[in-house]
C-alpha cells in the first residue's frame, strides 16, 4: 500500500477518534486548567501526531499509550471528586497572596511570584493601589482573584436598599427566522401564541433574526430589516400610570363626597392603591 494512502486512512481515523477522546476527557476549558491537565492534553495531542506521521511505527503501541493518557486522567478526576486530599495532591492548593490588606511575602516566595507580577495581576483586576485590596488568592490554575475592600466594591442595589424585581433567564424562541419549539414548550407556550404575538407587532417570522421572551413573558424581537420600527411594549408603563390615575381619582372622590361611609371607603382604597404602587414599583 502506498504510504500516502496509509497516512490518509490513519489521519482520518485518528481525527475522528481524538474528537471523541477529547469529548470524554471533559468540558474544562484549557485557559482555566491546572498545569497537569494542560500537560495531559499536550501529551495526548503529541501521541496522536506521532502515530499519524508514522514516527511510532507500531500503531498498537501508540494506541496503548494514548489509552493510558486518556483513561488515567478520567480516573484521577473521579478520585479527586471523591477525596479533597487527593484533589489537592494532584492539582495543588490555592495560595493566599494578600490577607487583610497585607501582602504575604512568604507565600509569594513559595509560589515564586515576584512583586511586579503580583502588581500586574492586581492591575488586571483594576486594583491599581494595593491599599484597595483586602484579599487576593492565587488559584491552583494560576489565576489571581481579588477581593476589594468593601468601600471600593461597586455599588449594588442591596447597598442602596433598593428592592429590584427578580429576573429569570430569557428564553430564545426565534433564531434566524425559525421558531424554536423546544424553548417555547419549556416556557409553556405554543407556536400559536408566538404567531399571535408577532401579529400584534405586525412582523412576519421570516423577518425576525432573534426573538427572546423575558421573565414577564413578553416577546422581544430583533429584525433583519433594522429600518422597520417595532412598537415598544409599554404595557407595564401603562399599568403604572393607570393605577396612579385611579389612586388620584379615589382620593378626589373621598374629598368630594358628603357621605361619611363612602368617604372612608374611597380614602381607604386610595391608600391601598398607594401601597400597591410602592410594592409594584420594582416590577414595572
Amino acid at each position: 500500500m502506498d504510504n500516502w494512502i496509509n497516512i490518509l486512512i490513519k489521519s482520518s481515523a485518528l481525527l475522528i477518534g481524538s474528537l471523541f477522546l477529547v469529548r470524554i476527557m471533559g468540558k474544562k476549558s484549557l485557559t482555566s486548567a491546572t498545569p497537569f491537565t494542560f500537560v495531559n492534553y499536550i501529551v495526548v495531542s503529541i501521541i496522536v501526531a506521532l502515530i499519524v506521521t508514522e514516527v511510532v511505527t507500531n500503531v498498537a503501541f501508540g494506541l496503548v499509550a494514548l489509552g493510558v493518557w486518556v483513561i488515567f486522567p478520567i480516573l484521577i478526576d473521579l478520585l479527586s471528586l471523591k477525596s479533597k486530599g487527593f484533589h489537592d495532591l494532584i492539582h495543588g492548593r490555592e495560595t493566599i497572596l494578600v490577607k487583610q490588606g497585607k501582602i504575604m511575602e512568604e507565600n509569594l516566595m513559595d509560589v515564586r511570584l515576584t512583586g511586579e507580577e503580583l502588581l500586574r495581576e492586581l492591575r488586571k483586576k483594576n486594583a491599581f493601589s494595593v491599599s484597595d485590596v483586602e484579599f487576593a488568592i492565587l488559584e491552583a490554575t494560576g489565576d489571581i482573584h481579588v477581593l476589594m475592600k468593601s468601600e471600593k466594591t461597586p455599588i449594588t442595589p442591596s447597598h442602596l436598599g433598593i428592592h429590584v424585581s427578580p429576573i429569570t433567564e430569557p428564553q430564545t424562541v426565534i433564531l434566524d427566522g425559525v421558531a424554536l419549539n423546544e424553548s417555547l414548550s419549556s416556557l409553556g407556550k405554543t407556536p400559536h401564541w408566538l404567531k399571535t404575538e408577532l401579529e400584534k407587532i405586525g412582523v412576519s417570522i421570516d423577518n425576525v433574526f432573534l426573538g427572546q421572551v423575558n421573565s414577564f413573558g413578553e416577546l422581544y424581537v430583533d429584525l433583519f430589516n433594522d429600518a422597520t420600527k417595532i412598537p415598544e411594549n409599554t404595557t407595564r408603563e401603562l399599568l403604572w400610570t393607570n393605577l396612579e390615575k385611579c389612586q388620584a381619582d379615589l382620593l378626589r372622590y373621598s374629598l368630594e363626597t358628603q357621605n361619611e361611609g363612602a368617604k372612608n371607603m374611597y380614602h381607604e382604597n386610595s391608600r391601598q392603591i398607594e401601597e400597591l404602587l410602592k410594592k409594584l414599583k420594582p416590577y414595572l
Partner: protein
C-alpha cells in the same frame, strides 16, 4: 360629567389594570413576581367590587348626583 359616570370610568380603568395584573401573574416565570402580581390582582379586585357597590348605591339612593 356626573359623579356616577366619573366613577364608572375609574372602575373601567381599574378593571383594565386588574386584567393586566392577572396576565402578568400567570405569565411571570419567577415565583416571587407571580406572588406580587397575584396580591396586586386580589387587591384591585376588592377595590373594584367596593366601587361597584358604591355605584349601585349612587344609582338607587342618590339620583340627584346623576347626569343633570
Amino acid at each position: 360629567m356626573g359623579v356616577d359616570s366619573q366613577l364608572k370610568s375609574t372602575i373601567a380603568t381599574l378593571k383594565g389594570v386588574k386584567a393586566t395584573l392577572h396576565i402578568y401573574s400567570l405569565q411571570s416565570s419567577h415565583s416571587d413576581s407571580k406572588i406580587i402580581f397575584k396580591d396586586a390582582f386580589d387587591i384591585t379586585t376588592q377595590i373594584t367590587d367596593q366601587l361597584e357597590n358604591r355605584l349601585q348605591v349612587l344609582k338607587l339612593e342618590e339620583p340627584q348626583y346623576q347626569e343633570q
